[in-house]
Subunit: 339 residues, 2 copies
DNA sequence: TTGTAGGCGTTATCAC
DNA sequence: GTGATAACGCCTACAA
């Protein structure tokens, strides 16, 4: 029941605490004989160092804080998966927090993590976030921050992202090459940056094909509820523009909302209208018709983010300089039956 | 940059550390005047107590450990969502770990959490888990354990579950009442307990309708990959039994694999064969045809589990007795177009 | 090679 | 009402 401490070992072996500590950490300046005695007893009593005491002394908690908008999301849960796996490999644990897309909660949670003295923070910022004082605060307290997926341009730190603009360009370019002529865009919100970039990619592709951008073909989510917004906007679009022959949606959820509406109205996909999604979550391969989409690395994004953060943490420890990294992960088109 | 400590406040105000500590914690035996001075300066300097030092002293980390088989799963991510939200309300943080359905990893992770000195552990055990030494170990070290969803019968602790047997009974009973006569069961593995119970519910419903149980109509997942196993078993079943008119699957994933195969083979659901799922994840409402399923509380399961655990933790603090709770959350049938 | 002593920041006990 | 003092368990100069 009672935990055995370094003190207990010390008394039982009549060896000082410091020698015990050194022996257990494999320092060189302990005689082989006493080292063996110590290790043996430690093993026998199932001694494990008290990580809290050691944290207090070393200022390391071997803990990383992660803040995401929501965990109930195929993409984010895969990212977290990657983070937990990678962190564990290096002996780090993950404290997970959700901002629920709210800036005030995000601020509160950063402060919680600071108080908890995590060794580093991984964050995908909320759609509402534009200020950075809370993040700067963490940095000022000596806690490195790494952003992933939804990042802030105006904050200087390592970032793990995809090239949203390029990916969107490729998707729309594909549609145009395939012969679709009048392409609507579903999404087009002004936050987060990803939405903007995907809209820009859409515009670029149109331009590259000599097609004029038509603002009226951009449908913004009214309720921040991808599936239902997709459903709703599909209806709206059909009322307003009968000539649309393809839709590029900013997420698979939106796209699936669209497919659902079209199914209800018996509109054939892709014969009448093609639909392109973004993210490649599991469902997109299973829905009917299966959804063409942009494959976005997720597990990998998590593990790389952790590695970059750990690098920075280790540099800090050794007082070495660390140059922030911006890692752009490759995306690819997955063509299925909806286009 | 440098964190301000209780010592700094003490020196600046010429008041002892102990008084500072008491004042900040709102103890009664500090004069109003000095309390105000202390609080004021603390606020001004943005003082926050060092949680590690306090943990060392109080043996509380305000941290809960959570182990689940996998986070990439609609049900579990909702449960975690509920846990994080509820824990945060009470000032607790969540460390999340995945067992990946492996017993050895589960053991390792329990030990990690013990070492981290979390105040309590929430676990949904892996399919491989039957031994309980690792869990007993946590209890012996004074860390309460609460099980949820996938629980162990042979371990004495609080448990938050659903009545799998009853839920399965209701689903199959519904099918039989609706006129389906020959019903196959997809799932039927011997671990975890949930599978067994759902199989038992299936059997009970048959019996209640005077139908003899036929072992050959039970299809077990060959590869532990619900979607593909459902797909595979649908094919197999069709080859073996042309007279089946309904399937009760143990998860929505399996059911959706089945739907997918039937769609490929142009078998009409529910006209030729009805399909019933289990769990009501988002996808089941979106797939075509939409899937009848058992609604299983998820977010709520997480928040309740946290509450039960915190209750136990608080009782332990006060040395009060705590009676383990077994909370059975209600399920309900959701009837859609697949039946 | 081993041991001593002090400190990390907080809390709790017990005098004053 | 306030303050000295001793833990909590570990780490690390520095001394022996």
């Amino acid at each position: 029941m009672e935990k055995v401490t370094i003190n207990d070992l010390s008394k039982m072996l009549k060896v000082s605490k410091s020698t015990i500590s050194k022996a257990l950490k494999g320092y060189s300046d302990v005689s082989e004989k006493t080292r063996k005695r110590i290790v043996k007893l430690a093993k026998k009593l199932n001694y494990t160092p008290n990580s809290i005491a050691s944290s207090l002394k070393t200022h390391q908690t071997k803990t990383l804080g992660v803040i995401i908008p929501t965990i109930v999301h195929h993409f984010f849960s895969k990212v977290i998966d990657g983070m937990i796996c990678e962190a564990e490999k290096h002996g780090f644990l993950i404290i997970l927090l959700q901002s629920d897309e709210r800036f005030d909660l995000e601020v509160k949670q950063i402060n919680l993590l600071i108080q908890k003295q995590v060794d580093g923070i991984l964050i995908s910022v909320s759609n509402q976030t534009s200020a950075v004082v809370h993040l700067q605060n963490a940095i000022d307290k000596g806690i490195p921050v790494v952003m992933f997926d939804k990042v802030l341009k105006n904050f200087n730190c390592s970032k793990i992202i995809i090239d949203d603009k390029l990916a969107a360009f490729e998707a729309v370019d594909y549609l145009l090459n395939k012969g679709y002529k009048r392409i609507a865009h579903f999404g087009g919100m002004l936050t987060p940056q990803n939405s903007i970039d995907r809209l820009l990619g859409y515009k670029n592709a149109l331009k590259a094909h000599g097609i004029e951008y038509d603002q009226r073909l951009v449908y913004v989510n009214p309720n921040n509820d991808d599936f239902n917004d997709g459903f709703y906007n599909a209806k709206k679009m059909l009322e307003e523009h009968r000539d649309i022959d393809a839709i590029f949606a900013i997420t698979d959820s939106i796209a699936i909302g669209v497919l659902k509406y079209f199914e209800d109205k018996n509109i054939k996909v892709p014969e009448q209208i093609a639909v392109f999604g973004f993210s490649n979550w599991f469902m997109s391969s299973v829905i009917t018709p299966s959804l063409s989409t942009v494959n976005q690395p997720n597990f990998e994004m998590g593990s790389i983010a952790v590695n970059v953060l750990l690098d920075e943490i280790h540099c800090k420890e050794k007082n070495e300089a660390f140059a922030f990294k911006k890692i752009v992960l490759p995306t690819s088109l997955i063509i299925r039956k909806s286009t």
